[in-house]
């Protein structure tokens, strides 16, 4: 069955079983690496993507529910050449060890920071409640998300303000 999807602003037609979880469509049909298989049970958060502004576990959502909705993966946040604020912050603070859980963390954070660019530590922890990290990178992940919020705010300020702030 052919399904239309919008991923990172681009339309796609995929021919898959409509019950296929979004995760497999992203990885297998669209060759996107960002969302990771971790548990397939909605317990670890490594497959997290953003759908219409909300963090969603892509291993749990059948692709048929996503027609006409805006799907964002970390590929949509920027590139190596032009990293977005979240990517910039994670690189700046070296917030990864193996890095496998990190895209899921970043997408949970992306959904949070869209709503609230200056979240408290408790709000960040709450937003990451379903994301597991095994390497113990938690402190850096928290710091990188705070930093990303700062970068986003700085970017959204008018140029004159940025000059004064700097």
């Amino acid at each position: 069955m052919s399904i239309s999807l919008t991923v990172n602003g681009r339309p796609h037609q995929v021919d898959v079983d409509p019950a296929t979880p979004l995760l497999y469509v992203l990885r297998d049909d669209l060759a996107l690496n960002g969302a990771k298989y971790g548990c397939g049970l909605g317990q670890c958060g490594s497959c997290t993507v953003v759908v219409d502004g909300e963090a969603v576990l892509s291993c749990m959502v059948p692709v048929m529910l996503l027609e006409g909705r805006e799907i964002t993966t970390i590929e949509g946040l920027g590139t190596i050449e032009e990293p977005g604020p979240l990517q910039q912050a994670f690189i700046e603070l070296q917030a990864a060890q193996c890095g496998y859980c990190i895209p899921g963390m970043m997408m949970s954070a992306h959904a949070l920071l869209r709503r609230n660019a200056r979240p408290s530590d408790a709000e960040i922890r709450e937003a990451l409640a379903t994301n597991l990290c095994r390497c113990g990178t938690h402190m850096r992940i928290l710091a990188a998300i705070r930093r990303a919020g700062e970068l986003m705010q700085a970017a959204s300020l008018p140029k004159a303000d940025k000059g004064r702030a700097g």
């Binding site: 548990c39 190596i80 060890q97 890095g99 990190i102 938690h138 402190m139």
Partner: protein, 746 residues
Amino acid sequence: MGILQQEITRRTVIAGTGGLVVSFSLGRAFAQAPAPPAPPAPPASLPGSLDDDRFLDSWIRVDPDNSVTVFTGKAELGQGIRTALLQVAAEELEVDPQEIEFVTADTGRTPNEGFTAGSQSMQNSGTAIRNAAAQVRALLLAEAAKRFGVAAAELRAENKSVLAKDGRSVSYGELVSGQMLHVEAQPQSALKQPGTFRVMGKALPRVDIPAKVTGRAAYVQDLRLDGMLHARVVRPPSPAATLAELDQGAAEAMPGVVSVVRDGNFLAVVGEKEFQAVSAMRALAAAARWQERDTLPDQATLPAVLQGLEREVGTVAEAGVLSSNGKVFEATYTRPYQIHGSIGPSCAVAHMKADGTLDVWSHTQGVFPDRGAIAEMLAMPEEKVHVIHMEGSGCYGHNGADDAAADAALIASKIPGKPVRVQWMREQEHSWEPYGPAMLMKVSATLDDQGKIASWAYDLWSNTHSTRPGGAGALLAARHKAQPFQPEPAELRISPSGNGDRNANPLYTIPNKRVLWHFLPDMPLRVSALRALGGYANVFAIESTIDELALMAEADPVEFRLSHMEDPRARAVIELAAERFGWDKAQMPRNRGRGFAFARYKNLAAYLAVAMEAEVEPETGRVRVARVVSAIDSGEIVNPDGIRNQTEGGILQSISWTLYEAVAFDRTRITSTDWSSYPILRFASVPDSVEVNIIERPGEPFLGTGEAAQGPAAAAVANAIRNATGKRLYDLPFTRDRIRNAVGGA
């Protein structure tokens, strides 16, 4: 194929040319060095892994196009080793890190450095690359000196060129010729001095992180080959189950299914697309009937089970005469089976090609041993199997990586011509990875009337902590085949770096002691290396005991440790952690406590001390570590941020093991098969701050970092809970039930 051919060519060349060029070139490069030894003399010992792979061009290649390639047999496991090794090479070669092509573990291209394990990559590979790079630089300087007609000391190497004072310069690529770098390394190198470092000692950003945070292909899970198929394995429902009946028709008829593979108790399905393979795996699992047997021990009486499995005793350390005079402290500690629990389940891609050679991409810790085991399983000559390391999710020891590689290889061998990708499901990873072994530790220690430890008897019961390949019998697929391979029998070996007995011998000054490893050859649950091996539980037991002895001696725990410690580097980390933590005698608020612990990893590697503040909720049994301050000395620093990152991670992972983690099982099956039945640390319980202080040791050998925190962090948690509640906890993990039981009525 090309890579294999290259390897054969290189090896053939090595065999054919001998070392004639060697003495000639090096004689010039190291004019002050003694003449090369006469041929019959045994070869001189070379630094690090150079001793095993003695030719400079096994490690470093400079090509006429001025490209520089560095090879390591070690693998990036998420620990940042690629970046640290690159820094070492860049420093000694006088080349910018981004100018170097860096090749990691690959049986076709790199030296064989065994396993990436034991926090030894910097000592082994870092030392080898550093010395090889320094010697390559010296050879290039010597060649330039000859061409310019000046002394080598008049020249300097910079940015892939050699520069003369008069402005002449020549690139490395122009200097190399023929077999110039195909020479045996020398025992001594003219290493750069710490004050002159450009790259080493600096927090060079990790080279792998940008790809990982932007969705570039970074893991073996992301490898997509033309025509690649997806496979899933249907594992037995329990460790000893055998396949009694199978109706594979329904699975075979499912969309996209290419093949059902069965070999004895090994069962897998191959599909065109990944989710088709997952769906067919479920159908196949439902259609398989397994004969199960009760082979697992009674979890409720595990310590007695472990004692009953004892077959042999090894003496780890012995001094003086034990006594029971004075004040006595006795205790029994336990540690459960625990998992590596990588967030990404194990994955591999294998391709049996038309020429009969097999390529395997794996996140194994050891491409060469894995190649041997896979070749044995498939009855192929080793040289026809090519294992290439690609990153997986975090490693933390011998996890499912080798088994997934074997799964992919076995499946690929049955459908030649097509690359096959296998990824384990979450429940397969939880159920089938080799676990960190359960352990039992008994201590009996005495204090003399000066408040000093007089006598120390320590007994530990444990399996071996390494069942890595090895032979094919180490691989699940090989064990499940119709013609099964048996695991190699485990043997008790006492070594300086230790195994189950790692860190069992306390580093403190104790005149009379005896440390025994009661060895259990039989493994009721499959076990192998988990980060720090026995060092995690042994340091937990020792450092818990030290705190109790300090209390008995009415001494401050930090002062008590210092009064039993002579090693100045150990004293330095203890003093630094205590100072930065603000360790004093002030009373903690109610239900808050602080704990301290120390160990030198393996008693011969990195020194680490850690202080923690923890809060305990007596009603719920919840413990949260609020603040952590650590100090580490891992020798000369290559990347301080890498050391910090690894140490923070080790501390948090150890807190997770210590508070939450135990494999659960009934008499037949593993029952902790996901993250809800095997919980780990979550953000809600992460500390407010974790501080890592690094002691600089310029010019000292690399000591490695990755595992130093595991033991001390566990003991610091235990000691902080003791301080907060007055109760000593002996059994890992410190679950809410155990805390409530311990503090109940207090």
